[in-house]
Symmetry: C2
Subunit: 338 residues, 2 copies
């Protein structure tokens, strides 16, 4: 049987990414004339057809996609998985879930084991320590990959992300407006673009409010979750912030316990906002102010993007939407409770 020609075929033969092929075929201004020529020549030579019928899905061998995430015990990721599964069900695909537990070596081992034909595509939110771009550059040439939330800086990767910069900026300004002058940032994603965007939003808001401190009030995450409480309590005791913006949900429980341990009144002495999809946020004492990401919608969109690629439809990485998060102000940042 003659092999069906897909964007993946073209990408493999030209040793460029699927995204670059897509962009070249849709005449994107980002792609050089030379590359467009090479892609279009090969497409003609191999009789590549755009937008073939959905029946091409039949050619997928495994009818399975993999979702690689740091943790299922995180409300953002479990909601995103639900969105992914909804789309996968519509296409009659199975979803396999892999946890990396923030271990980038496990991540590389998983993805390597997957390209051998175990799944048709991969959705991934990378570990906080992922630095190996070469690995991912190679991966996206071998199998369709869509990044969501925690993406990496490869220009032609498909990524679905939220407005990290704007949300962090807005939350920091909210803390400043509610009287905080020593606002700290708890950083969990130091090495990732996602974390850098959140940090920049925080810094720019401090700058605008004239609240930049001589010594930055930034705590980096720790790899061992058992050490988080100790790290957070030590940081609060030492730096005495009166406001905290936490960039990941994992800091929330340690922050609450640290305040109890140090006998600090929240929100009286310390106000808190966290990126979080915690289901119990409104039920905590005090109710937690959150930056709530549209996790379910993000999973749906990332999966829809992957299935477009699997269906050989054109996807322009630059036209993927940036989703908006919502700042929900509650008691922990000084809003009166019920």
């Amino acid at each position: 049987m003659k092999r069906h020609v897909t964007v993946k075929t073209l990408a493999e033969q030209l040793n460029i990414s699927i995204a670059t092929v897509s962009k070249a075929l849709s005449d994107s201004h980002e792609i050089s004339a030379e590359t467009k020529q090479r892609v279009n020549d090969l497409a003609r030579m191999l009789n590549y057809e755009r937008n073939p019928a959905a029946s091409n899905l039949r050619s997928h061998r495994t009818r399975t996609i993999a979702v690689i995430i740091p943790e299922v015990a995180n409300n953002f990721f479990s909601l995103a998985i639900k969105g992914i599964e909804e789309i996968a069900r519509q296409h009659n695909f199975h979803v396999l879930i892999y946890q990396t537990h923030e271990n980038s070596e496990a991540e590389i081992a998983f993805t390597n084991s997957l390209v051998s034909g175990r799944v048709d595509g991969i959705l991934i939110s990378v570990t906080r320590s992922t630095g190996n771009l070469a690995h991912f550059q190679s991966l996206i040439r071998q199998i369709p990959v869509v990044f969501f939330d925690r993406s990496i800086e490869i220009p032609d990767a498909f990524s679905i992300t939220t407005d990290d910069y704007e949300s962090a900026f807005e939350a920091t300004r909210h803390l400043a407006e509610n009287g905080c002058s020593r606002i700290a940032f708890l950083q969990g994603l130091d090495q990732l673009a996602t974390g850098q965007r959140r940090l920049k939003g925080y810094r720019d808001a401090l700058d605008q409010a004239n609240l930049v401190q001589p010594q930055p009030l930034v705590l980096s995450g720790t790899d061992d979750p058992r050490q988080l409480l100790q790290a957070v309590a030590g940081f609060i005791k030492d730096k005495q912030p009166d406001g905290i913006l936490s960039s990941i949900e994992e800091f929330v429980v340690p922050c609450y316990y640290a305040c109890r341990e140090l006998n600090i009144d929240m929100p009286g002495q310390l106000k808190l906002v966290s990126f979080s999809n915690l289901q119990t946020a409104a039920l905590l004492k005090p109710a937690l102010s959150t930056i709530t990401q549209p996790a379910f919608e993000m999973g749906r969109l990332a999966a829809a993007c992957l299935f477009r690629i699997l269906n050989n439809k054109e996807v322009d990485p630059c036209e993927l939407p940036l989703l908006r998060s919502e700042l929900i102000e509650r008691e922990s940042s000084g809003i009166s409770g019920i």
Copy 2:
């Protein structure tokens, strides 16, 4: 290459379960003399060796086990997965996670797709509506399977469970001792042995405390989580319980919201204890009293049991330990807070 003879080989050829073969080989009193004879005869004929070296693990094709659970967005299951992964890592195996979302048809479809050689073994906590025992009876003859927490009533299945009856009994007695006289039970696992054991513990404690009501105060779960809040609020309004024992974590958030909606003071007018591994239980307003299952340990034990089977070591289903849960009394059931 000659195929290595395992308990699975024996089970397949005799059309009995792996557990029965294990028990027959270890001369269990539960197995008839006739079956023991058949198993031992075949074992001799095929040169079956007990306790072969660990190098037999090499014969496993996929080095992958599947975990099939209702939801990852449940702290019990996400902790259990961590325990499973810890053991799998020691054996250098991958773990695939499947969610059934309480859909027993999805469960059957998943398990059917797995027996074709995609994984070496399965750990499963069944859906709340699982009633198809014939399917599982067939499954456990085809591939090593260990049930955890939510098991089914097949006598020779491998199951790791907790003391459901005792925990429910103790929690109900705790509510009675704290002054509750109309104690309700929120049932999420109606059709499962797990749920029946919890219900029986609740009923026996009511009986002992002379608190049995003419009309049972039992609410059955609903398949649609969006309807849970409405169902719980309607139940509380209608039945006016002054104590609630919830058999699954999914009822916790609806209970808190229902009390706020109905302007019911918890714990003043209504006390609550729930089976739950919620990480924020102690931080809620009021702090939640829980029956906390040893989820991580349960995952570890279930996985260890599966690897013993994969390693052709004898495992007696009747000697698997019953794990103990812990009743943690907090404000929601009337204990003074901090």
